[in-house]
C-alpha cells in the first residue's frame, strides 16, 4: 500500500490514541511521518513503530499551543524531510465540566490546546504548502462540536471552533490547492475515554446510542484521515466527516 508514497505528514498528538492510529496508518501507506507529542517518549515510540515496519518517521516533543514550540517543530520537520504535504491537527485534551464549574484558567487552557494549536500550526505550515502548490490539512474535531452535551462547556466550544475554522480555511486557501477538512469522531476507545469505557454498565449505556453497536477504535479514524489526506478526496474541502457508528444520525 502506498497511497501516501513520498508525502511528508505532520501529526500532532501522535504519541497515542487517535493520533497514533493515524501516524501508524500513514506510515504503512508510505508517508514520511513527523510524530509530534507533548510527551516526547510517546512521540518517539510511535515513530519507532513506523520505522520498525518499513517507514520513515521522527518523533518530536513539543507543545503545539505555544508559538515558539510550533516554530521549532516545523523547522525541525523541514530540516529532516524538506517539505510538509499533510498536516493532521489532532492534539487535544478532554474535560468534563459545566460552564459554572469551569475556571477561567481551565477555559483558556482547553481553548489553547484544542483550538489555538490548530490556528498556530496552520499559520506556520500553510506557507510551506503554498511553496509546494498543494496541501492537505485534516483537523480532528468531535461529535461534541456539532452537539451540546452535559458538562462539556469548554470542550464543545473548542471543537465547534475547529469545525468552522476548517470551513473558513477551505475558502481562503482553495486557490492554493490546500484542502482543509475535519473529522468528527464519536465514541472512540482511547486513553481519553478509557475511564468511561472500563465500567461495563457505562459502556452498555453508551453503546445504546450507537447504531453500529460498538465504539470506534483509532484505526476507524485513521481510515477516514487517510482518505482526506490522499488524492481521492481532491474535490472535498471544508467538510466535517462524522465517524461515529451512526450516533449523530439522531441529532438532526
Amino acid at each position: 500500500m502506498d497511497r501516501l508514497k513520498g508525502k511528508v505528514a505532520v501529526i500532532t498528538g501522535g504519541g497515542r490514541g487517535i493520533g497514533q492510529g493515524i501516524a501508524l496508518r500513514f506510515g504503512q501507506e508510505g508517508a514520511k511521518v513527523v510524530v509530534v507529542d507533548i510527551i516526547g517518549e510517546n512521540a518517539e515510540e510511535t515513530a519507532q513503530r513506523i520505522r520498525k515496519v518499513h517507514g520513515e518517521a521522527v518523533g518530536l516533543r513539543g507543545d503545539v499551543s505555544k508559538r515558539s514550540d510550533v516554530e521549532s517543530l516545523v523547522t525541525e520537520a523541514l530540516a529532516v524531510f524538506g517539505r510538509i504535504d499533510i498536516l493532521v491537527n489532532n492534539a487535544g485534551i478532554g474535560g468534563s465540566k459545566t460552564c459554572l464549574d469551569t475556571s477561567e484558567e481551565e477555559w483558556d487552557r482547553m481553548l489553547a490546546i484544542n483550538l489555538k494549536s490548530v490556528f498556530l500550526c496552520c499559520k506556520r505550515v500553510i506557507p510551506e504548502m503554498m511553496k509546494i502548490g498543494k496541501g492537505k490539512i485534516v483537523n480532528i474535531a468531535s461529535l461534541y462540536g456539532i452537539a451540546g452535551s452535559v458538562h462539556t462547556a469548554a470542550y464543545c466550544s473548542s471543537k465547534a471552533g475547529i469545525i468552522n475554522f476548517t470551513r473558513q480555511l477551505a475558502v481562503d486557501y482553495s486557490p492554493h490547492h490546500i484542502y482543509v477538512n475535519a473529522i468528527s469522531p464519536g465514541l472512540i476507545g482511547t486513553e481519553m475515554t478509557r475511564g468511561k469505557l472500563k465500567d461495563p454498565e457505562t459502556l452498555n449505556y453508551l453503546l445504546r446510542f450507537i447504531p453500529l453497536g460498538r465504539h470506534g477504535i483509532p484505526a476507524d479514524i485513521a481510515g477516514a484521515a487517510l482518505f482526506l489526506a490522499s488524492e481521492d478526496s481532491d474535490f472535498v474541502t471544508g467538510h466535517n466527516l462524522v465517524v461515529d457508528g451512526g450516533e449523530s444520525v439522531r441529532l438532526e
Binding site: 470551513r167 477551505a170 475558502v171 477504535i217 477516514a224 481521492d232 474535490f235 471544508g238 467538510h239 465517524v243
Partner: protein
Amino acid sequence: MGLLKDKVVIVTGSSRGIGKSIALSFAREGAHIVLNGRRTSSQRLEALAKQIEAQGVRTLVVKGDVGRAKVVLKLVQKTLDRFERVDILINNVGISPSVSIERMTEKEWDEVIRINLKSTFLCSKMVLPHMKKQRSGVILNLSSGSAKSGGVGAHYAASKAAINTFTKSLAFEGAPFGIRAVAIAPGPIETEMAKSLFKPGRKHFVESVIPLGRFGKPEEIAEVAVFLCSDDASFITGEIVEIDGGLNFYKPLSYHKMT
C-alpha cells in the same frame, strides 16, 4: 489496488456520468460489477461491460427501469444467480429536469420522484434481506447539494432531500446487522445532467461561488464512493458527504475577493 476485492456491487444508472465512473473505479479496486441502464442501448452497456472486464473482474448487465418493482426483483435475482451474493448497492440512477414549479405537470413530478426516490427504496428493500443474511453490506445513495439548498427542479431537490432522510433511516435499520448506509451529495459535476450549468455566463458565475473554483469530475465522486464502501469507512454510517468543492458552506459575503 484492491480495496474492494471480490465485492459484488450493483450500480443503478451506470451507463454514463457518475454511475459509469463509479463502476469503473470499483472495478479497478477488484469489485465485480452489475451494470444497469434505463434507456441506454444494450450495445452501449455491453461495451462498457467489456471495458470493465478488461480489469480482470466479472460483470453482469441488467437493463431496465429500477423505479419499477418487477425490474428490481429481476436485477437482484440475476445478481444472486450469477454471484450468489450482493455486498454493495449504489443507488445512483436519477433524472434532473429543469422546470419551474408553476409549469411542472403532475406527471413530471411523479416521474422524478419515482425514478430518483422510489428506485432507492425498492432496490434497498430488495437487497436488505440478502445483506442481513450475510450480516454485512453497504448501501450508498446518490443525493445532491440541492437537497439542502433547493434548486430549479423542485421535484429533483425534494427527491434528494428525501434520499438524505431515507439514508439515515436505512442506517438505523441496517446497523444491527452490520449493514452501513451512506450518501454522497455532489455539487456541480461535469456530466450531461449538469450541462444547463455550462451555459455561457452561468458557468463562470457558478465557478465563482465554489471555493475550489471549478466543477467536479465524475471520477472525483467515484473515489469518494470507493472510500465510503471500503473497510476504511467501517465506522461511518448515516453520514451524508458533500462533494462540491466547498459550495455548500461558503457564504459569498465577499466573494468578489475570491476571483
